[in-house]
């Protein structure tokens, strides 16, 4: 259930990063999700797809499994 709050935090970071890099729209977001991060990847994907809006309204989420507790946005694609 906390994946909703995490998706909201991710979308805030996406919007801020897109603005910093001059991207008007974001088509893809890369994140890494650690095995010990306490986040269920499928739930995060679902929450992201429900909540995405604004410059990230059409963005897809690409997740990479990693060891440890990392939970990071790694890259954006857009124009």
């Amino acid at each position: 259930m906390h994946e909703v709050a995490i998706a909201q935090a991710l979308l805030t970071e996406v919007a801020a990063a897109a603005s910093r890099h001059g991207l008007k729209s974001v088509s893809a977001v890369g994140v890494c999700v650690g095995h010990h991060s306490g986040v269920a990847a499928e739930a995060l994907m679902q929450a992201f797809e429900i909540l995405r809006e604004g410059c990230a309204g059409g963005a897809v989420l690409e997740m990479r499994d990693v060891e440890g507790a990392d939970l990071r946005m790694e890259w954006l694609e857009g124009e």
Binding site: E13, A17, H36, S37, E77
Partner: protein
């Protein structure tokens, strides 16, 4: 033209920054904060009541209670003579865990000058609270015998990040299938954190838990004092006002 930009950023960066603020405030006030995480009914509040009876006021305690609804737990703790504030997460739009902003707001309702060890009893849930730093110094997972001895295998990330694990309701071992050996073996696969098998009902095993709190608080207070001596900083509250 589509471009790809590298933006390595913690997703919970905003929460983590607030958590660091909370920790700095607590350090300045000489307070050790312990985040209690466990399932509903594992006995977190009963553990606090027992801990209060054994430790307070020799070490002055304070409590922040997190629940989806009601102020029942804060009322229980307050009856032990301990300052306690309740966060009802249904009122702040977030039901399944505490975050650093909720804790920061709650600190403003506690008499911090009267507190040495602050317990933050998280919302009863073995999953969601594990992802959030709330500004604590120590994280303790409370499990209990009726939940079964396989909980570490099912929720490894929660136990892996614990500084200590309390196994409550050990007085019920004789009437259940629970195996302490199996529980301990699972725990040792993910962490070397100390394990305290206790019964908050009978008081069994609490001496080790109390000694651990005392030792960790002494260490934390020493660290904070050394840090304050280095920086010349006194404690401040969340809005930046000096408190001493």
């Amino acid at each position: 033209m589509t471009v790809r930009v590298e933006v390595v950023e913690r997703i919970l960066r905003a929460n983590d920054a607030l958590a660091a603020e909370v920790r700095a405030l607590l350090d300045g006030a000489g307070i050790t904060a312990i985040n209690l995480i466990g399932s509903p009914g594992s006995g977190k509040t009963s553990l606090l009541e027992r801990t209060a009876a054994l430790l307070h006021p020799r070490i002055r305690l304070g409590v922040i209670e997190g629940d989806i609804a009601t102020t029942r737990d804060a009322e229980r703790v307050a009856r032990c003579g301990i300052p306690a504030v309740q966060i009802e997460t249904r009122l702040v739009g977030n039901a399944c865990h505490l975050d650093a902003s909720m804790v920061r707001a709650a600190l403003g309702r506690l008499p911090l000058a009267e507190v040495q060890v602050l317990f933050i009893e998280n919302v009863g849930n073995l999953v969601c609270p594990a992802a959030y730093d709330v500004g604590e110094h120590l994280r303790v997972v409370v499990a209990s015998v009726p939940e079964g001895d396989d909980k570490v295998y099912k929720y490894p990330s929660t136990f892996a990040r614990a500084d200590a694990v309390v196994l409550n309701k050990v007085d019920l071992v004789p009437v259940t299938e629970f195996s302490l050996e199996a529980f301990t073996a699972g725990l040792r696969e993910v962490t070397a954190a100390p394990l305290f098998p206790i019964s908050a009902r009978t008081g069994e095993g609490l001496a080790g838990w109390i000694a651990w709190i005392e030792a960790r608080h002494a260490g934390q207070a020493g660290d904070a004092a050394r840090s304050a001596a280095t920086t010349g900083q006194g404690p401040t509250v969340a809005d930046g006002t000096r408190t001493g």
